[in-house]
Symmetry: C2
Subunit: 346 residues, 2 copies
């Protein structure tokens, strides 16, 4: 992703909402740019204390979060936050951090439309309150609905066009707009033109998941995060192997159900070396702490005795990684070479 | 639930997998019985260190978990674990804790059928290895598929009949079977006869959720756990209010989608006092940290300005509570009277 962004002539701002670990940030950050994005103040606090200075809180901030944000900004001098309303811009007066105005580019979540009169009003209120304008930012969340490379390229261009239009409108009105930020992993990977952007945000690309491989962001064998589970029971009468990873350990994300190529349940099961030597097995059902592996009969019961370890590729790694408090890092195979602790919660 | 179990003449073993907090256990435990059930060794360890002595690990244990289980049993002298295989029974030889043989009663997850020859074999292997038999246990997980009280009563009787049959078979073969354990919240609440049972396990009843109210386990206004969230953005153009509780804070459980009475999305939105004064609003869409409230147009934007707090009732409280590390306890209204920390993870 660093190479892709350099080729586009933009900075990379890795979004740490996916992996939430400082060691991952150290690998992901482009030293030429330096910043990261986060999705919670707990992440912001964690990365600030770990020494990252440029932290963009890429979710609209609210007045009740100001005190904690100011405290974080005392540690991470480059802390900044999103907003999309005049009310919040007004409540930020005197804040010791910069603000990004969030722009709507088709994700239908938060943000002001580039031609909304509020855009200039928010910038004016920030200026009046002495709050630095970090720039304008957008997230083309609708890229997750795209199913072909051509659709992804189109969403990337919608993102770019919307946020650049907003920046130009602000500049025409006399505001200085240092940052023009866009991105999601699919659009960053497939972006054809980047003129007017200063940076791209992306997170899920660091790990990948079955949904991303389903929409051609990466190959399934490139997925870097899996859930290590143990076989806890055999049910040959049901052609079912039960593991100790259920809805909590895998998440109940079912995004892959909407993809072509068959339903992947709650994840794809690999052997402990991370290879698909067991055939195509999926976790077809989950309870809180139980996962039910099913597949073509008969399942490889002999190769997966009780106590055997498997790895389960996640549907949506952001959801799956979130509840786990550490990673065991392997460099091919199953030998653990490091443990990366991470932040959990808010 | 204590009263219900007493009326049935059985002990209550509250399942702490739902709330995972010692203060909740102190309220839930019937002093006449004393024990709890848990679903992870992290919970077992947490409750052991908090002083609970009788802890049933109600998931099949595996050989790789023996060392940690033995350590926990050194603290909680009444620690016990489930198993359903000869292999694990054999690996338990010399274990400093008792074993429950899990019985299949229709949940199609783990457990041996009451008439499976393995039942007696497992008991014999345990005796040979000097492992105390705590009893037989089952979980009628298929109660979650029941939609009427009559169906629930039928599942409760399937649970009871299966686990009592297993106990009788073992006793006829000369084994002592102290415990005969069944349960889920729906079956415990609707159980008509309990002869042969010594205890019922249930967890979700302590908090309740939209799925449980949908299947008539409790009324929606009795649901005790909600996610406190802040309004972070208004999108009147989409008739949408965005809050800072998304797929992580609410979970992606969609179990209520299968209920009659309309899809509840990712949860029902109440005012901060916990009352439905806002009208019928639901979180119709989620991203990782964003929840999109939609409902009949126009939404009450004026009553929910940016920064306003709402409470969101969960679809499945076991999934929702799991990632949060504490509860803020209110006794009606919104004044916080206590903070209950809880265990997260494995």
């Amino acid at each position: 992703m660093i190479a892709k962004c350099r080729s586009l002539g933009v900075g990379l701002r890795p979004h740490m909402k996916t992996l939430k670990a400082i060691e991952a940030a150290r690998v992901a950050v482009d030293p030429a740019h330096g910043g990261i994005a986060v999705s919670t103040l707990a992440e912001a606090d964690y990365f600030a204390r770990a020494g990252i200075g440029d932290i963009q809180y890429a979710v609209c901030i609210t007045p009740d979060k100001m005190a904690r944000a100011a405290e974080i900004a005392g540690i991470a001098r480059g802390f900044s936050a999103f907003l999309d309303s005049v009310e919040v811009a007004s409540s930020l007066a005197g804040a010791p951090f910069a603000a990004w105005i969030e722009i709507e580019s088709g994700g239908r979540r938060t943000g002001v439309l580039p031609d909304d009169p509020k855009l200039l009003e928010i910038a004016a209120v920030l200026r009046e309150g002495g709050v630095a304008l970090a720039g304008v930012a957008t997230h083309g969340g609708h890229s997750y609905g795209a199913r072909s490379v051509a659709e992804m390229v189109a969403v990337a261009e919608e993102e770019r066009a919307a946020v650049v239009a907003a920046a130009e409108r602000l500049r025409a009105a006399g505001f200085t707009v240092p940052g023009v930020s866009a991105g999601s992993s699919p659009t960053a990977l497939h972006m054809a033109r980047s003129d007017g952007l200063t940076e791209l945000r992306a997170g899920v690309y660091m790990a990948g998941d079955l949904f991303q491989s389903g929409i051609h962001s990466l190959a399934e064998e490139e997925i870097a995060v899996s859930v290590l589970a143990s076989v806890i029971a055999h049910r040959p009468d049901l052609n079912q192997i039960v593991v100790d990873a259920g809805g909590l350990a895998l998440s109940k994300d079912r995004s892959t159900a909407a993809l072509e190529g068959g339903d992947l349940g709650y994840g794809v099961v690999l052997d402990v070396e991370g290879t698909p030597s067991l055939g195509r097995l999926i976790v077809a059902g989950v309870h809180q702490e139980h996962g039910e592996i099913r597949g073509e009969a008969p399942l490889p019961f002999d190769r997966l005795p009780i106590g055997a370890r498997v790895r389960i590729l996640p549907n949506h790694v952001c959801m799956t990684a979130a509840i786990h408090d550490h990673y065991l890092v392997v460099d091919g195979g199953s030998e653990i070479v490091a443990r990366w602790d991470k932040i959990v919660g808010w």
